[in-house]
Amino acid sequence: MNYMPGTASLIEDIDKKHLVLLRDGRTLIGFLRSIDQFANLVLHQTVERIHVGKKYGDIPRGIFVVRGENVVLLGEIDLEKESDTPLQQVSIEEILEEQRVEQQTKQEAEKLKVQALKDRGLSIPRADTLDEY
């Protein structure tokens, strides 16, 4: 069954397990059940996987309907190689805690950086305030 070889059509990916990366940074893993011409996806038995360092945790989410424009990339998961990772799975609470800690350290580092720049009289313009024309 070959739909449009040489093109990026999702039809052949249906009913297969996929990993989907969204624009907001979330990673979803689920069975791709349905698509449409905008690459809106219907994911089944979806699991949101949070990665922190070498650990990851899975949050079961059920059915996801993803609007196509929010997908950064997606790829099929080889079921046989799926368990072949160097990453360590941990519980949900633990991974959420780790994520929180990571966010915190990032924020503090950012604060320090901004402060240092301010001391030197510089400022990094944030992307949303850039206005060229």
């Binding site: 069954m1 070959n2 070889p5 040489g6 093109t7 249906i14 009913d15 698509i35 089944h44 079921l79």
Partner: protein
């Protein structure tokens, strides 16, 4: 609706009192509504029907329990959920005094009862209790899994059964929006993005999508008398050979292989006219094996690949052509690939080598994959390793109860849209990278085939069909009986909304910054225009090949013309003037895109024009170098310049060298410090260019000893000065040139003595060993 004797009675003033008066009249108005209270309202029949239906509900849990034995657990859950939802909805509609009704009580008792919420309803609609009961009647009928309910219900009805339904439907309120709030906009029963059903049936869809009363379709089309019993699973049904069900008048686009959709239709087909299931309804049918839906797809691909695709009608026509060619067997239980294989084999004659929409490479890939799959399946039978991988995948698919939720038809629909997007009148314009990539691949494979004796695939020429550009004459929307046309702007008919007048600002008002910015913008615009010209010019070669003989001179003229305009753009030609300043060109060269563009344009220019460009560059090189500090794009100009240099005569080279090194006109003049040269030497591009120029000069000298002495003298003078300068420059901070020409040593040896030669050598690292 408003029964006034005459116009005068109408309340003209629209203040609140009048409106309230209207509100009070609502109930009166309702009384005049025939459907609810008038001749349409007949008490007796619906009650009986209703009671019978209520009995059905008691039977239903039993029926459902039977089914779970065969089907999956999930389906049971689905149904169970459905019933609970139904119960909620029903109870919301119930007004308290209704609970006395024995029919309702019985119905409600079979499910968990939630508290009635009278407040949630707008009383003016739901006032009539009779209305409510009637609504519930048809509602119950629809919300059940249609199979069992109706098949039970129908035989028991009195002969006027169909009439009942009709009455019910007439008595039921007309279609409402999903929310009970008056005035909410009508909801499309079928959202705009859904794949088209074979024939849209709003009533049935509505039954699924909005659980509100709806006209039940009057008498059924001839029912199949269920020769196979009520409870055959879809698979069983399909495997019945020569079943009359196959004679179903499906639209031609559906292959004789019973897709899951059709099986569901068969089961539910008793009530519906054929081919009218919505995908959502389908979801309730018990999950079944993911049988290979391969039948259509390879056909689709191959045929489609070859097909010019006009909009939808043509496509569907193609579909109808496909099925007759491949009659797959009805049994679905052979190992997954089996029917797949057979379909593939039977499709070979359908293959059309003459037209390719995508690319012949695609079809080759398809063949390869088909062959691969065939090989794998052969090895599967022999328990090969590779085959086992594939078979485990197939197994997985077979065991997946949620497989094929997306119907074959829907997949086809999506790929049809994607294919339509590929149609183009000018594939080179629309799909440049794809075309080039596959041309390269073709060339590679052609080369390989010439060399080795690989399996000779069909050698098809790439003929991309051109879709005819349909001229759509836009006709503005016109309503019947109205005067004139609507001025509605749309995508096809854009209208000017704002009259924006461009006022050119006077020079004094602007600040310096703004002027600079404007100038930069103008330069950017010029670059863009020139770039378009460049792309066109670069494309002419291809167009020559595709064009007819007569057209070629015209094309050549066009090309020349464009080249001239490009040059004029670059140099900033003003009509009737010499070229006074390099400013225009320098501005272009300050922008990275401009530099790359100049590099691309140079091959197309005539020698004089190109030399002119080169001279200008050399003259302004320090400035350009300064501006290029961030981009570092100048080296891209090196190769076109070098190429050009080899066509330049000695005189030009001499003056070029002068310009480049900013040498004074006469050798006798004392040479002040030369920052120009310093800048040039410290830049990679500058140094490389200098070396290339020197090398060229040396070539000219050595190759042509009998040239005019004047030129020789000039060159010698310049060289003397050059060497002097070079010796003066400190070694530190010299750039690394892109390449060092080999004849420089001999060049310098003519003009300087041994000692200085050594110095020069070390300084410029002319000798290979040093590097």
């Amino acid at each position: 609706m408003f029964r006034y004797e005459s116009l005068e009675d109408c309340p003209l003033d629209e203040d609140e009192d009048a409106f309230q008066g209207l509100g009070e009249e609502d109930e009166e108005i309702d009384q005049f509504n025939d459907d609810t209270f008038g001749s349409g309202a007949v008490d007796d029949d619906w009650q009986e029907a209703h009671e019978r239906l209520a009995e059905l509900e008691e039977k239903l849990p039993v029926a459902v329990n039977e089914q779970t034995g065969n089907g999956e657990r999930d389906e049971m859950d689905l149904l169970g959920d459905h019933e609970e939802n139904l119960a909620e909805r029903l109870s919301k509609m119930v007004i308290e005094n209704e609970l006395e009704d024995p029919a309702i009580m019985r119905a409600v008792q079979t499910r968990p009862v939630l508290q009635p919420q009278p407040g949630s309803l707008n009383s003016s609609i739901w006032d009539g209790s009779e209305v409510l009961r009637r609504i519930r009647g048809p509602l119950l009928a629809q919300e059940m899994p249609t199979v069992s309910v109706l098949e039970y219900a129908l035989p028991q009805r009195p002969p006027q059964g169909p009439e009942d339904e009709r009455d019910l439907s007439e008595r039921a309120l007309p279609r409402r929006s999903t929310s009970p709030i008056i005035g909410s906009p009508p909801v499309r029963a079928v959202p705009i993005g859904t794949p088209p059903k074979q024939m849209a049936v709003p009533s049935f869809n509505q039954q699924i999508l909005c659980p509100k009363p709806v006209h039940v379709r009057p008498p059924m089309p001839p029912r199949y008398p269920a020769p196979y019993g009520e409870r055959m699973s879809p698979n069983q049904l399909c495997s019945v050979p020569n079943s009359s069900l196959l004679g179903h008048p499906f639209p031609p686009s559906v292959p004789p292989v019973l897709s899951p959709l059709q099986r569901a239709q068969l089961l539910g087909g008793a009530q519906l006219p054929p081919g009218r299931m919505s995908p959502s309804q389908f979801a309730r049918v018990p999950g079944f094996v993911g049988s290979p839906l391969a039948a259509m797809n390879p056909k689709l691909l191959q045929g489609r690949v070859g097909q010019v695709l006009p909009p939808a009608p043509g496509f569907r026509a193609f579909f109808s052509a496909a099925p007759p060619a491949a009659p797959p067997p009805p049994q679905q239980h052979s190992p997954g690939p089996g029917p797949h294989l057979q379909n593939l084999r039977s499709q070979a004659p359908m293959f059309r080598p003459d037209t390719t929409h995508l690319h012949p490479q695609h079809r080759r890939l398809l063949h390869q994959r088909q062959q691969q799959s065939r090989n794998q399946h052969r090895s599967l039978n022999g328990a090969g390793d590779r085959g086992s991988h594939r078979s485990s995948h197939q197994d997985h698919l077979r065991k997946d109860p949620y497989a094929n939720l997306m119907l074959q038809r829907e997949k086809d629909w999506v790929s049809k849209i994607q294919m339509m997007q590929l149609q183009s009148t000018d594939p080179y314009l629309d799909d440049f990278y794809y075309q080039n990539y596959f041309e390269k691949l073709e060339k590679l494979s052609a080369a390989e085939e010439v060399q080795g004796e690989g399996p000779k695939k069909e050698r098809t020429k790439l003929i991309t069909p051109q879709v005819a550009k349909l001229e759509h004459a836009y006709k503005p929307v016109q309503f019947e009986g109205s005067l004139g046309k609507l001025t509605v702007s749309s995508v096809n008919n854009p209208r000017k909304m704002i009259d924006a007048v461009v006022t050119s600002r006077s020079e004094d008002d602007e600040t310096k910054e703004k002027q600079v910015r404007d100038k930069r913008r103008k330069t950017l615009v010029i670059i863009e225009k020139t770039y378009s010209l460049l792309l066109d010019v670069e494309d002419y070669e291809r167009r020559y090949l595709l064009s007819l003989e007569e057209e070629r001179p015209a094309l050549a003229d066009e090309r020349k013309h464009k080249i001239c305009s490009m040059y004029d753009n670059l140099r900033g030609k003003l009509p009737g003037q010499e070229r006074p300043s390099d400013d225009h060109f320098v501005q272009i060269m300050c922008i990275r895109k401009g530099k790359r563009m100049v590099a691309r344009i140079l091959p197309f220019l005539s020698t004089e024009q190109a030399a002119d460009i080169l001279m200008t560059t050399a003259r302004n090189l320090p400035f350009l170098i300064k501006k290029d500090a961030q981009d570092e794009v100048l080296p891209c100009l090196l190769s076109p310049f070098s190429l050009l240099l080899y066509h330049l005569p000695s005189v030009t080279v001499t003056s070029l060298l002068q310009q480049l090194m900013n040498l004074p006109q006469s050798a006798a003049a004392p040479a002040p410090s030369n920052p120009h040269l310093a800048a040039v030497l410290q830049n990679k591009f500058g140094l490389s260019l200098l070396l290339v120029v020197l090398s060229r000069g040396e070539d000219l000298q050595s190759s042509d000893p009998a040239t005019e002495s004047k030129q020789n003298n000039q060159w010698t003078e310049v060289m003397f000065m050059a060497t002097r300068e070079l010796l003066r420059i400190p070694q530190a901070a010299l750039a690394k040139p892109v390449s060092i020409p080999t004849n420089l040593v001999s060049l310098f040896s003519r003009y300087v003595d041994r000692q200085k030669l050594n110095l020069l050598e070390t300084k410029l690292q002319l000798v290979q060993g040093i590097r």
